[in-house]
Amino acid sequence: MTTWSGGAVARIAAIGLVGGILQVTTVSQVLVFGVPADLTPLLVASVGLLCGSVAGATFGFFLGLFVDTVLFQTLGVSSLVLLVAGYGAGRVRELRDPGHSLIPVAVGAGAAAVTVIGFSVLQFLLGVDAPVSFLLVRQILLVIILDTLLALPVYAVCRRVLLPYLPDDPRRRRRRAYTTGGLSPLSRA
């Protein structure tokens, strides 16, 4: 995203607010194989992938702050892991400009892994008062798998919301370049 119009910022903020409220009121209470899905890294990865690293990092910071405030958790922890995830997703877009349709799945899985593992590492660094079970590893893996399955629908929704403010996607740019000349084998002949 090259411009920061008020409309774009408002839409991104709306994604964060609605997504955050949906997560804490509904998604976290629906258990699949004993764990709830976590939409926050997927939202952050989607915004990063669509809008770039700065937008992804900023969105991750504020979404993490919102979640920590609403759930009365230690402020700063979710912000830190989500901003890293958002920045990383944005850098994937800036460096690779990927056009494959499954890229959101891979990036979503990566963001979920970074978030869940990063959160656990920070908790250990802050000090854990209770014994930690090895089942924590199972919980982490299940959350990552669940989030991977939800990555594409979440990305599709975010893309639909932000569509008026997005530049062309890489596949459309390449298709246009091919059809209008330059890349056509006829013009090269």
Binding site: I21, L22, Q23, V24, T25, T26, V27, S28, Q29, V30, L31, V32, G34, V35, P36, A37, D38, S53, V54, A57, T58, F61, G64, L65, D68, T69, V70, L71, F72, Q73, T74, L75, G76, V77, S79, L80, L83, Y87, F119, S120, Q123, L126, V128, D129, A130, P131, V132, S133, F134, L135, L136, V137, R138, Q139, I140
Partner: protein, 294 residues
């Protein structure tokens, strides 16, 4: 131009990371009455009506998705419940006899026991998705008599205790939260201990610090021990059911690990009660001096 973009990007990242670290450091270092905690409570108070409304509106969708999981677990749960029912029928007979005996003994001792905990019924409308923070939020607060550290129960047993409270809502720390702990007792063996959570295993609690751990067996019920010393009153009344011993690992006395399954289903909490007078059973009348003459 490119350098400017790179510098701007890195500057934003550094500023955001620095903000996170500062927030974390200040929040972690301040007390419950600090500025950030107060701001958090204020924000919670503002967001609570929105979240409660969203919770009610989205309940049908939540129930719909939950139905699939419940259906898969239904057969196994039915078989287990049949076994439990048969065991409980025998226990009921034994307990009825003991209850009669208890009533007679209490009458003989003239024990004035007031069990008026003044429970406040509330609804759970929000839940933390994290494995590390096992908390829920309820729609009652200081205006309803709820205070920090008051125990929270549901129809099955102990659920947790109040962690933080604002005017109209409160955060409840569940039994499985890393910061939770309560003095407990295994009923059949009579052994005291402490209930601790097992972080990462949401349906599992540990009964620790048991002096004679070999006497505790699978199937034993674990209850809150209550106040055992007048100098250190417990916020939990005696006799609240915490759970049942699920399995015991280890052979020796010192290296035994006693796993307890919570009685309350902490994954599906809806209506809970906050005991606003948990020490009501320790009434002044129990300490009244006896009259010795006319």
């Amino acid at each position: 131009m490119y350098d400017k973009q790179v510098r701007r990007r890195r500057a934003v990242l550094v500023v955001l990371v620095a903000c996170c670290i500062v927030l974390l450091t200040v929040y972690f270092g301040e007390s419950e009455r600090g500025t950030l905690h107060a701001t958090q409570r204020g924000a919670m108070e503002v967001m609570a009506p929105v979240q409660e409304g969203a919770n009610r509106a989205l309940k049908p969708f939540r129930d719909f998705f939950g139905w699939f999981g419940d259906t898969m677990d239904a057969k196994q749960e039915r078989d287990q419940l049949r076994k439990d029912r048969d065991k409980l029928q025998q226990q009921v007979v034994r307990l009825e006899l003991e209850q009669n005996e208890n009533q007679q003994l209490r009458g003989l001792l003239s024990f004035d026991r007031t069990t008026n905990y003044q429970p406040v019924t509330s609804r759970v409308y929000l839940r933390s998705p994290s494995t590390w923070y096992s908390t829920v939020q309820i729609n009652k607060g200081t205006s309803d008599g709820v205070r920090v550290n008051q125990p929270v129960i549901n129809d099955a047993g102990l659920v947790g205790k109040v962690k933080s409270v604002s005017n109209g809502n409160a955060v409840v720390m569940l039994l499985t939260d890393q910061q939770f702990g309560v003095a407990a007792q295994a009923v059949r063996a009579g052994e005291p201990g402490a209930i601790l959570p097992a972080v990462g295993a949401p349906g599992d609690l540990l009964l620790d610090l048991v002096p004679r751990a070999k006497r505790v067996q699978p199937g034993d019920r674990v209850i809150t021990a209550g106040t055992v010393s007048a100098r250190l009153p417990s916020p939990f009344p005696r006799g609240l059911l915490i759970g049942t011993v699920k399995r015991v690992e280890g052979e020796g006395e010192l290296d035994r690990t006693i796993h307890v399954e919570p009685a309350a289903d902490l994954r599906r909490l809806d209506i809970v009660q906050v005991l606003t007078k948990p020490t009501a059973e320790l009434t002044a009348s129990a300490a009244k001096p006896r009259r010795t003459g006319p």
